[in-house]
């Protein structure tokens, strides 16, 4: 791996590299779908993200030439990911630790938005599909009225009293 290509020759990646990487990406796609069907608890998330990271790295290093190009581009790219990680990480230091001192401040007072009250009030609409949400459903009875109704419910949350 050359840290910097010679001044004015451009690197031409061999065809078999592109095709090989492409095949690997497709294989990893199949793999991640397959793994997701095995219940591993928390590990499902970790494995899925690990495979996605490997796939993304292959794209970045070979399709986007980071492996051959000036290191500066790699730095720019990783800076983006680093600052995103810092953003999410620091935000979670707040969102996950709010109940450190007082358990009652950690959770919302109402854990369902007010619009679900009126959704529940019309159970006949989707009731029979409960439990099998993705099954090819044919009837949609979402009336425009009900949507408008939710729009109006500026939803004053439950009082502290």
């Amino acid at each position: 791996m050359s840290a910097r290509p010679a001044e004015h020759t451009t690197h031409i990646t061999p065809l078999r590299v592109y095709l090989g990487i492409g095949a690997t990406l497709l294989f990893l796609t199949g793999l991640t779908v397959w793994v997701s069907t095995i219940p591993l608890g928390e590990w499902n998330v970790i494995v899925a993200l690990a495979i996605a990271t490997v796939k993304a790295s292959l794209v970045a290093f070979f399709f986007m030439h980071l492996y051959y190009d000036n290191k500066l581009y790699f730095l720019v790219f990783t800076a983006g990911i680093l600052f995103l990680a810092l953003f999410i990480g620091f935000t979670m230091v707040d969102t996950m630790r709010r109940d450190d001192l007082d358990p009652e401040v950690g959770k919302p007072i109402r854990d369902q938005a007010a619009m679900y009250d009126s959704l529940a009030a019309q159970p006949a609409m989707h009731g029979e599909h409960e439990g099998e949400p993705a099954a090819g459903q044919t009837d949609s009875s979402a009336t425009p009225d009900s949507a408008a109704m939710h729009a109006d419910s500026t939803a004053v949350p439950a009082s502290g009293h």
């Binding site: 009652e104 109402r110 004053v156 009082s159 009293h161």
Partner: protein, 323 residues
């Protein structure tokens, strides 16, 4: 304990305030020192090394590094801010960790007043009444937007969020009265969302509790209504002199017809007033925003009756003045 105010700080009204002030004053002296050092040197150098009239440009010394000096001005500030951080964090913990035996008062912020409900069942609006020398825990939430509960004399402040509880606490050792502000911008009435914290001695507090549910005994309903008009904050949005504020004036409306925002008309009678207090969004007078909060649970039946009597009395006055 010295509770008087200084140039920079208001009086100290809570047990945590002196600790916060000590750190504030440390910061103040530290800042004053560095400010004087920096500007003093800048002025001295400016005078000492000024270019005199007609003096030709000359080469100046090549001073670019001084290891000792540079280490000093990295290390000393680092130590100082380290002290500030630890000291500030300790104080913050004191403000955040609520004593176990604290008495809990529920605080609700809404546009644009505060309401308080006490463990004994009493309620109050814009006036938090507490016994002296007893830790008070505030369990706060908002009905609409974010507000912030701020008592400068206590050095406490915490945002009050909709759909979430937040907490604060204080212990006011001496009886007295303190300003209560809303410190998070919340709209038209933000600057009127102010109240008082009344710290009473234990005995006065018990007296207050027993009489706090203002019964209106010994007053005629209109007088009692006039008191409620102020204490329940109708006054922030409704005038009695004909001026339109955030809401319509109370003067001369009783028995008259008003046009609602949907164009229909309604006569202002007992029922309409009662409905407007309990369900303000139902019939909004044309030209006004539907911003009034409900007073359901905050006003008792006989209190609403008294308010109605008060509004009626404004009607009479209006007729007498022969407008």
């Amino acid at each position: 304990m010295d509770t008087t105010s200084t140039m920079f700080l208001p009086q100290t009204g809570s047990t945590v305030a002196p600790g916060v002030d000590a750190l504030f004053n440390f910061l103040l002296y530290l800042s004053a020192f560095f400010f004087l050092l920096i500007t003093g040197l800048a002025i001295y150098f400016s005078i000492r090394f000024r270019r005199r009239k007609g003096e030709p440009a000359r080469l100046t010394p090549n001073l670019t590094h001084n290891t000792a000096l540079e280490i000093a001005w990295i290390v000393i500030p680092t130590i100082l801010v380290g002290i500030l951080f630890v000291w500030g964090f300790k104080g913050f913990l004191k403000l955040s960790v609520i004593p176990k035996d604290a008495m809990e008062i529920k605080v609700t912020g809404q546009k644009w007043f505060w309401s308080f409900s006490y463990p004994e069942g009493a309620t109050s609006i814009n006036e938090l009444v507490v016994p002296a020398g007893k830790p008070i825990k505030l369990l706060m939430s908002s009905q609409d937007v974010i507000h912030s509960f701020y008592v400068p004399d206590f050095r406490i402040k915490h945002d009050v969020l909709p759909n979430r509880y937040s907490v604060a606490w204080f212990d006011a050792p001496e009886p007295g009265e303190h300003n209560l502000f809303c410190a998070e911008y919340c709209g038209t009435g933000h600057s009127t969302m102010i109240g008082k914290v009344k710290v009473l001695s234990e005995r006065e507090y018990d007296d207050w509790l027993s009489t706090s549910v203002m019964s209106g005994e010994g007053m005629n309903p209109a007088e009692f209504g006039a008191k409620l008009y102020v204490s329940k904050t109708c006054v922030t949005c409704h005038s009695t002199d004909g001026r339109a504020m955030n809401g319509p004036t109370f003067q001369g409306i009783f028995g008259h017809e008003v046009t609602l925002s949907d164009g229909s008309k309604v006569t202002v009678d007992e029922n309409y007033i009662r409905e407007s207090v309990l369900n303000p969004q139902a019939k909004v007078v044309m030209g006004f925003q539907p911003i009034m909060p409900t007073f359901q649970g905050l006003l008792k039946d006989h209190e609403i009756d008294a308010l109605i009597a008060f509004i009626k009395s404004l009607e009479k006055k209006d007729e007498e003045s022969g407008e």
